[in-house]
């Protein structure tokens, strides 16, 4: 039994934690929430320069020795720091190209994505439920038409991976965003530190990714990948929100002693801790499934997505509660977590779809059913 990351991966995580701690302190996140989105640009460039963005990319295309486990742990640290960066969207597009692109597409796109000189994004969520939010994308003669929103980093990215209906079925396509037939409009979000845009395609040039008609299956796999990375971002955020609540509970006095001494607060924070640890188990299992390309990945992704969403949502909400009235002010940082937790809860398929995916997989036992029995 070795359910632990390698020492090397842990060392990368420790470095990443230092990096985000120094370069992405909460005041920077606050600036981003207040609309100064340029604050994030140097951070992205440095991530590229340091080789972090190349994690999970092979050496031939700009990789520098970091793999998918490191990609997961960098997400955990980015999440802990609330980094205002489109890491998951970027890496999901990277994975789409690495897995499903032609040799020419990989050679053309992966190196600039590995060093961050181009930001990629993707939009794989089912069409939004609200009226007029989305119109399905259609592909005809390699030209794509339709509207998707909200697309993370849609205004700043150079490239998007999306699903489109072609005459031969649903397919994945790659669209360069810097072209006249793509209109990009920034849309306001509940977490402005993670800018999103509406993308309107009016016969924009597009390249297919992967086999014709395989779009839905390929998108499923990419959503699993994204769910696990998002889970790590949520795990880091949940840990940070718990740490913030705990620290405050140790310095705030009420009724003659620190509030962290009262069981109402102690037990609440343990409830947060329990959810965070359950999420940690799921995320690590997700990392294992990604790194080994395991057949259990759909269930692992669903578990990570559900557990980490619950953990971060609960941690962010109870962090506000522990702070009392201060927690509802702009001045306190609680709302940074509260915003991010809600945003990340909504980034892909609805949670009930993930529940369904998990129940579907329940016929497939965990790695060793006998171990599960005695746990």
């Amino acid at each position: 039994m070795n359910f632990e990351f390698s020492d090397e991966a842990r060392a990368v995580q420790a470095e990443a934690r230092r990096f985000f701690g120094e370069r992405c302190p909460r005041p920077l996140v606050r600036h981003a929430v207040e609309g100064e989105q340029a604050a994030a640009a140097p951070l992205w460039r440095e991530l590229g320069t340091l080789g972090y963005l190349a994690a999970g990319i092979d050496a031939e295309h700009g990789g520098q020795g970091l793999g998918l486990p490191e990609r997961c742990l960098i997400c955990e640290e980015a999440g802990r720091a609330l980094a205002p960066l489109p890491l998951v969207a970027h890496w999901t597009a990277v994975t789409a190209i690495a897995r499903h692109g032609s040799a020419a597409q990989r050679a053309r796109w992966l190196p600039p994505l590995a060093d961050g000189s181009i930001i990629a994004t993707c939009t794989l969520a089912p069409a939004g439920a609200g009226p007029g939010v989305d119109s399905p994308c259609r592909l005809e003669h390699d030209l794509v038409t339709g509207t998707r929103q909200p697309v993370e980093a849609g205004a700043g990215a150079g490239l998007v991976v999306l699903q489109a209906h072609a005459p031969d079925g649903l397919c994945l396509v790659l669209v360069e965003l810097a072209q006249a037939a793509v209109e990009r409009t920034v849309v306001p979000m509940i977490d402005p530190s993670r800018p999103h845009a509406r993308l309107t395609f009016r016969g924009a040039r597009a390249e297919r990714l992967g086999a014709a008609g395989a779009g839905a299956a390929l998108a499923d796999g990419l959503r699993d990948h994204a769910a696990i990375l998002t889970g790590f971002c949520q795990l880091g955020g949940a840990d940070a929100a718990l740490a913030m609540a705990r620290d405050y509970a140790l310095e705030r006095y009420a009724f003659g002693r620190v509030i962290g001494g009262y069981q109402a607060i102690k037990h609440k924070l343990v409830d947060v801790y329990v959810r965070n640890e359950i999420a940690r188990g799921h995320c690590y299992y997700g990392a294992w499934s990604l790194a080994t390309d395991a057949p259990e990945t759909p269930a692992a992704a669903a578990g990570a997505r559900l557990a980490a969403t619950r953990a971060f949502s609960f941690a962010a909400q109870e962090n506000v509660q522990v702070h009392g009235g201060l927690g509802f002010t702009w001045e306190a940082d609680c709302h940074l977590y509260y915003r991010r937790a809600r945003l990340l809860a909504l980034v892909d398929a609805p949670l009930d779809a993930w529940r369904e995916r998990l129940v579907d997989a329940m016929a497939t036992p965990a790695p060793d059913a006998a171990l599960a029995q005695v746990a």
């Binding site: 632990e4 102690k266 801790y273 329990v274 529940r355 006998a370």
Partner: protein
């Protein structure tokens, strides 16, 4: 990352598997009541002779000198046979390790082998009617009388008291000092005059625990474990042994089993297992269930590296007992009014649901209540302050007065 045994662990597992296949009795031959004792003793003796009864104990004491991970592997393999809880777990897991720390070598030598071979059974005499979570608040008194101690008082929730041969007893030897400082631990022959055992009738109608009454029970001073007034230190040692027991028996239906059960219940004229509301509930339980399995893998990883596991055990208890309560009520709810009917009317397949309903409520209390476990995690893991203790520096004999004033 991988979920495989190391070569040494795999070899041990294979050896255990072979041995169990050749030696394990059929599960229905064993039981957890007094009637099942002869079969349980025979099985225990066979395990002890093969070196599997106390894998981590030193060879000199009849153990195997093995690692904790080997103990865990043995339990995993034995758990495949679906045996009920063991009559010997408290003795071998808690009492004998405490003896090894505090008794004379002669006493250890006298007691280890019979316990190991299932010839003598031990029980733990800590909890009292007025001291459960606050176990340092016990009232059973032990007074010095020459070479003996004379004990008067009452214990409760004692597992196996009706058939135990020896007990580990926590008593108050000095009521004039604050509660933690006036305690002393003894071991006692349960067949001594002055001990009366009475079964407790539980809320579910069963009787699996006892009350134990002491009336002028004489214990020789040589059966004292640790110094006079140092009983709390001994208790902490025993609790540490208790926490080293990683893993446990499966107590409730797993979410996968619940899904299967709902396929035989009807909701809106279709199998309930196809209903999205039902599936959503099951999915959320599965998230917790799998999460606990993964944390168990983390604990095993630590054990395999010779490190102490974290608070996984407390976490497991907190999450799984509440889940048992939810699952039982959910299945009963799905039945409608018929869910209120007893297994005698609904058939034996329903017995596990009713049992889960009762025992999940018991397990949220036994071995550390949810509230005490949360305090422990809050203080030891999150570093939050201990509760205010109004009884901390007050002589035990004056506590009643304090309680009157603060009521």
């Amino acid at each position: 990352m991988d979920f495989n045994d190391t070569p040494a662990e795999a070899a041990f597992r294979a050896e255990v598997r072979r041995w169990l296949a050749a030696n394990a009795p059929p599960a229905d031959a064993l039981g957890y009541d007094a009637a099942a004792l002869p079969a349980a003793r025979a099985w225990q003796a066979r395990k002890a002779a093969a070196g599997y009864a106390a894998i981590t104990w030193p060879v000199a004491l009849g153990g195997r000198g093995g690692r904790t991970i080997e103990e865990v592997i043995y339990r995993q393999e034995e758990s495949r046979y679906g045996f009920p809880g063991s009559h010997f777990a408290i003795g071998l897991g808690i009492c004998l390790p405490t003896l090894m720390s505090y008794a004379t070598p002669e006493q250890v030598a006298r007691h280890v082998r019979p316990a190991l071979y299932g010839e003598e059974i031990w029980c733990q005499l800590f909890s009292e009617p007025a001291a459960g979570s606050d176990v340092a608040g016990i009232r059973t008194r032990a007074q010095r009388d020459g070479e003996d101690w004379v004990v008067n008082g009452q214990k409760c929730w004692t597992s196996g008291a009706e058939y135990a041969d020896f007990g580990l007893l926590l008593a108050r030897t000095d009521a004039g000092v604050p509660k933690h400082r006036g305690l002393t631990v003894f071991f006692v022959d349960m067949k001594s005059p002055g001990i009366r055992v009475r079964p407790i009738r539980q809320s579910d109608g069963g009787s699996e625990f006892s009350e134990v009454f002491f009336t002028d029970l004489h214990i020789p001073d040589c059966q004292r474990l640790g110094g006079v007034g140092e009983g709390w230190k001994v208790v902490l040692t025993t609790l540490m042994h208790e926490r080293n027991l990683v893993g446990g028996n499966k107590m409730w239906p797993t979410p996968a089993e619940v899904l299967d059960m709902t396929s035989r219940l009807t909701l809106d004229r279709a199998p309930a297992s196809r209903d999205l509301r039902v599936r959503a509930r099951i999915a959320d339980w599965e998230v917790d269930h799998r999460g606990l399995v993964y944390l168990y893998y983390r604990a095993l990883t630590s054990l395999g590296r010779g490190q102490a596991p974290g608070p996984e055990q407390a976490l497991h208890k907190l999450v799984s007992c509440s889940q048992g309560q939810e699952i039982a009520c959910f299945l009963m709810d799905l039945m409608g009014p018929a869910g209120a009917m007893a297994p005698a009317a609904l058939g034996s397949a329903w017995a596990s649901v009713e049992k889960t309903w009762w025992w999940s409520s018991a397990q949220r209390i036994a071995g550390g209540t949810d509230e005490i476990l949360k305090n422990i995690i809050a203080e030891r893991v999150l570093g939050l302050p201990a509760d205010v203790r109004v009884d901390k520096d007050v002589p035990f004999s004056e506590l009643a007065e304090i309680q009157r004033r603060t009521a």
